[in-house]
């Protein structure tokens, strides 16, 4: 995997564009994990991908992306956390398998991570999973069918994908006895 120099910062740049925010925010990184830091004029700035992403959404006045009810907000928060702790934390093949398995179960009866509405959780999960999905075999994509359906849906969501490569999914099943 070709890791970008500052993956978190690049992701935030994508998010800014998606949200229609003017460029102008300054970012730095911190520590070995290169945690993004949003520099502000007053005070120490904001640290962490989730935190900054939520801040940008509010700045763009698209609060609905953080969920509209208490329940939805908590669910969004939960998947953002899953993204930064599990998806970013895992690096082995085993970790990846667990993540895909979990997501596949969760998405079995849902259109989006938080149910029926598109939220920040979908956006960041998409960015976080992109490098994994790109490398999946056709067979694996079919095995994690719900994840694939969701991923394909999100990458076609207006403004989300930007310069990232389009991941190809085959709609007719090839390995019918895989399950």
């Amino acid at each position: 995997m070709a890791a970008a120099a500052r993956p978190g910062v690049e992701e935030l740049a994508l998010l800014e564009k998606l949200l229609g925010l003017p460029r102008g925010n300054k970012y730095g990184v911190q520590g070995e994990r290169k945690v993004p830091v949003l520099q502000t004029n007053n005070g120490p700035g904001l640290t962490g991908l989730m935190t900054i992403a939520a801040h940008l959404v509010k700045q763009a006045k698209k609060d609905q992306l953080l969920g509209s009810t208490a329940e939805e907000k908590a669910v969004v928060q939960q998947w953002l956390e899953y993204r930064v702790t599990q998806v970013d934390g895992g690096s082995s093949k085993e970790d990846t398998t667990t993540i895909l398995k979990n997501l596949n179960i969760h998405l079995e009866d849902k259109v989006y991570l938080a149910g029926n509405t598109f939220t920040l959780a979908d956006i960041l999960m998409y960015y976080g999973l992109h490098h994994i999905m790109v490398d999946l075999t056709v067979q694996e994509k079919e095995k994690y069918l719900n994840v694939s359906r969701w991923f394909s849906h999100i990458q076609h969501y207006p403004g989300v994908r930007q310069h990232l490569s389009n991941v190809i999914f085959i709609k007719n099943r090839l390995y019918t006895n895989a399950h």
Binding site: Q30, T47, G48, A54, K73, G89
Partner: protein, 921 residues
């Protein structure tokens, strides 16, 4: 919604604490991970919150967040940042078994640079619960934290003592769970604070990230053994260990021998070498007013409870207080009442002393500031400050009334507010917009004494050079904050003062009623009260004993506790210490600063001018005994946040806690001894059931000590009530009144239960003493507890052995009836705040009882007042129902006519200012 938690799982702690803190109505299920919630991912996710919609939350932080969201507390950038930091950095550090040094350092730096009491501001938020929940399992209590991390220590201690966190810790740490928990702890090295790696110089250095990656079942509870089911799935109460029970039984068996010997200090109380010497002060009440309940709980009653506790512990304790008598307000009051300032002080000092006597406040000495000692000591401190170059002279512009031949203090000027144009703004503050005003900025200033127009003149004043003293202050303050018990608000207020930078402060005033300034050119000036008043603590002690310096110039032997409401904090933590440090005479400085928040009255504020609220002198006219007042005020003591006095709550607490719980238990225990055993304590043969009660009482007693040692007065009161609750349950389960009629074995059982119960009552009598001294004495009398056994110990022991004869037992408390309380509520106002607050002109329609000085016929005024109120309500109702405009206008006209009549009856000008809203088209 159902909350499933794994007993012993560290993540259980934060979700339980969050549920408690946000008062979320959850049903708690101690989880068995084999029944996995259907919709959750494959990992053994616990805790899990199952919402009514079917959604399952499995991330502990998201669950905590949900509870706060459901209560309307939205996340902020700061809370988000802490939650993310906890999930990514802190959890990783905990799992990788790394030294926590840098992580703890991060919290410390953030807390101290922000200067707030909590992680994301001045109130507790989801961030605090989440971070506390992660840290508590490894730290357990703040003693594991080094003193280099004072802000973290204080925060952690505050969190651990908060009710929600305490309960959560109690219920997670059940014995079965404790084993799991111990294995978790054994895996973790004690928090190694000498950091493993070099600390980065970067001010915002993040803790280094660990190299180990997280397992799939992350979220802080990956180890399967945390998710063991608990065989005992009920009750949040922490169960007892065998060791605890054995220790409690051993202590019980030692009986009175286990008690420390009685000790009485000599009179006058002076520091004793080798003893703990505790000096307690409560903020000096200002003499020109009658204190209200908020003043009483904020200062004297809190300090009294603590002083009584200290004396029970055999600590050598001196508690002093007195009235603060100098200053403008006294002069104004004297003019109002047509007396001299001295006469006013004498009159009100007596009123104060009477009130505190009625409330049973155990001052060793209650003095006053208008004494020769005050002059001598204040002038001495002044001279020392002058000699050491800590005083500055400067010219100030001030209003002077040529008619009265004097410079006018702020309170002697009135004029138009420069901000909102309110016409009756005072010289220091506008009552309408609340902004602080510099008297010379007032438009159309007027002398309040003669009505003349004052002019701006320059005059010389002296200033305390606080910026110069800051370098002495800071090292002392750091030390005191790190080693003392300062309440969170006291720390916060002090830090924000220091952070904003200190400026020179004027210490002189153009007044007559004060301590004279002993310096040429200042003969017609006195010390400003804030310089003078705290010196009152010293001079009042000097009036108590000529050896006062053994208390006040003895920081090596004396521990000083200052009690106050939060508005007084900067004077005690910054300014007065600066005066004393500058005077450089080995003064005793404050070690523990205990500040309360505010007590409100019903839904508003106490207001003397509006006659709203209960004032010290009226409390006794209510017919409610002083001890009930003490109990109620202490049980709503504004510790940590503002609280409110409410008549309904007073009635409820009296009837449910005192009468049905505490009183009922003590009375039943005593009655059984009298009725079934002829007034003689029977033989006791302990069974495991009794032993568990002993351990339970011991546990609460320990908690009581732990809380009171840290001046958590309100929280410690709960321990007392919970002991009597256990006692009641114990009696209820064992039914001695039935067993006494049974066979030999049953009768023996009845005897044991009665004997144990009456001993619990005896322990309660001692524990109650700081809170309800008269009730405590009454129990002591009824049970005939000998003085040498009326001792507060750390262990619960048998103080009334078999054969002890009790006295006559009678009920301790009386029921408060609804009618009685409703009548009191009416009498003391409150309840119609909308009239008073929203429409200031309506004030005239509700003459406050205290302010009723009208010359007219009181009965007529009363009648008209009622009519005005009635008509006012009618008009409001019409408007609310959107009635015809013509109809409204007619009724408004009637209302205005009534108001006019009322004003005439009161002898005031009948020009009713027409309220804006009523003429608007």
């Amino acid at each position: 919604m159902r909350l499933r938690v794994a007993p012993g799982g560290p993540a259980a702690l934060k979700v339980l604490a969050a549920a408690g803190a946000a008062a979320a109505p959850v049903r708690l299920v101690w989880g068995d991970p084999s029944e996995r919630p259907l919709a959750s991912p494959s990992a053994p996710w616990l805790p899990a919150l199952e919402l009514d919609s079917g959604t399952v939350l499995f991330s502990p932080n998201a669950i905590c967040q949900f509870f706060f969201l459901a209560r309307g507390e939205e996340p902020t950038d700061l809370t988000n940042q802490w939650l993310e930091w906890e999930a990514t950095e802190l959890q990783k550090g905990l799992e990788a078994l790394e030294p926590l040094g840098q992580l703890l350092e991060h919290i410390e730096q953030d807390l101290s640079s922000r200067g707030t009491a909590y992680l994301a501001g001045d109130t507790q938020s989801v961030a605090d619960v989440v971070v506390w929940g992660a840290l508590f399992p490894v730290l357990q209590d703040e003693t594991g934290l080094p003193s280099e991390l004072p802000a973290l220590r204080t925060w952690f201690q505050n969190m651990t003592l908060s009710e929600a966190c305490r309960k959560a810790a109690g219920s997670v740490l059940m014995p079965e769970a404790l084993l799991e928990f111990k294995s978790y702890l054994q895996k973790h090295p004690p928090p190694c604070l000498a950091t493993g790696r070099a600390t980065s110089n970067a001010p915002e250095a993040q803790p280094g990230a660990g190299t180990g990656h997280r397992g799939a079942g992350g979220h802080g509870h990956a180890d399967p053994h945390w998710d063991q089911p608990s065989p005992q799935g009920d009750g949040p109460e922490r169960a007892l260990s065998e060791e605890e029970i054995a220790a409690a039984v051993a202590a019980w068996a030692r009986g009175a021998a286990a008690l420390p010997g009685p000790w009485k200090p000599q009179q006058p109380v002076l520091p004793v070498h080798g003893r703990r010497n505790v000096l307690i002060t409560s903020a000096l009440p200002y003499v020109n007013n009658v204190p209200h309940l908020g003043n009483i709980i904020g200062c004297v009653l809190s300090a009294d409870t603590f002083a009584r506790y200290c004396r029970l512990r055999n600590w050598n304790t001196l508690y002093v207080c007195g009235t603060d008598e100098y200053g403008t307000a006294t002069e104004t009051k004297a003019m109002e009442e047509g007396l001299t300032p001295q006469e006013i002080c004498d009159k009100y000092n007596a009123i104060h002393a009477d009130i505190y006597r009625w409330f049973d406040i155990s001052f060793d000495y209650f003095g006053r500031t208008t004494t020769p000692h005050q002059t001598r000591i204040a002038q001495d401190i002044f001279q020392r400050l002058l000699a050491r170059g800590f005083l500055l002279q400067d010219t100030v512009e001030q209003l002077r009334c040529e008619g009265c031949q004097r410079f006018l203090a702020d309170r002697f000027v009135e004029g138009t507010c420069p901000f909102c144009n309110y016409e009756e703004a005072r010289g220091d503050q506008c009552d309408k917009c609340g902004k602080l005003i510099n008297a010379v900025e007032l438009k159309n200033p007027q002398c309040k004494l003669c009505g003349g127009v004052p002019v701006v003149k320059t005059t010389q004043h002296l200033f305390l050079d606080l910026p110069k003293l800051q370098e002495r202050l800071e090292p002392w303050l750091e030390q005191s904050l790190a080693t003392g018990d300062w309440t969170a608000n006291a720390r916060y207020i002090t830090r924000s003062w220091i952070r904003d930078g200190l400026k020179p402060r004027c210490i002189t005033r153009d007044l007559k009623w004060g301590t004279p300034v002993p310096l040429d050119g200042f003969q017609d000036k006195v010390f400003y009260v804030w310089f003078d008043a705290p010196i009152g603590y010293l001079s009042i002690t000097a009036n108590y004993t000529e050896q006062w310096e053994r208390w006040w110039k003895n920081p090596q032997q004396v521990e000083l506790y200052n009690f106050m409401a939060k508005d007084n904090v900067p004077f005690h933590s910054v300014i007065f210490p600066c005066s004393l440090l500058g005077a450089d005479d080995n003064y005793t400085l404050v070690n523990h600063l205990i500040a309360t928040e505010y007590l409100n009255y019903e839904d508003g504020k106490f207001s003397k001018s509006r006659g709203v609220g209960v004032f010290g002198d009226m409390a006794k006219d209510t017919g409610i005994p002083a001890d009930i007042w003490r109990f109620y005020l202490l049980s709503v003591r504004p510790e940590g946040q503002d609280s409110a006095f409410s008549w309904g709550d007073l009635m409820l607490k009296n009837n449910s806690e005192l009468l049905n719980n505490l009183g009922n238990f003590i009375n039943r225990a005593g009655m059984f001894v009298c009725k079934f055993f002829g007034g003689v304590v029977p033989d006791m043969v302990l069974t495991p059931d009794d032993e568990r009660l002993l351990a339970r009482v011991t546990l609460e007693l320990r908690q009581y000590h732990q809380l009171l040692e840290r001046v958590r007065i309100r929280d410690a009161l709960r321990c007392i009530l919970s002991i009597s609750r256990h006692g009641n349950q114990y009696i209820q389960v064992n039914e001695p009144w039935k067993r006494i009629k049974g066979d030999e074995k049953d009768r023996q059982r009845a005897g044991t239960v009665t004997g144990v119960a009456v001993n619990v009552a005896s322990a309660l009598a001692v524990m109650l003493q700081p809170y309800m001294p008269s009730v405590s004495v009454a129990i002591q009398g009824q049970l005939r507890i000998p003085p040498e056994r009326f001792i507060l110990s750390r262990d619960f022991t048998c103080t009334l052995p078999a054969g002890h004869r009790v006295g006559t037992v009678s009920p301790l408390f009386q029921k408060l009836e609804n009618d009685q309380v409703e009548a009191l509520r009416k009498r003391f106002g409150g309840g119609q705040p909308e009239d008073l607050a929203v429409k200031p002109q309506a004030k005239q329609t509700h003459p406050a009882p205290a302010a009723l000085v009208a010359p007219g016929d009181p009965q007529l005024i009363q009648e008209l007042t009622e009519k005005v109120a009635e008509q006012g309500n009618y008009v409001r109702q019409l408007k609310a129902n959107k009635a015809e405009k013509a109809e409204v206008d007619t009724e408004v006209a009637k209302l205005l006519e009534l108001k006019k009549q009322l004003l005439q009856a009161e002898g005031k000008s009948p020009e009713v200012p027409v309220p804006k809203g009523k003429r608007k088209k």
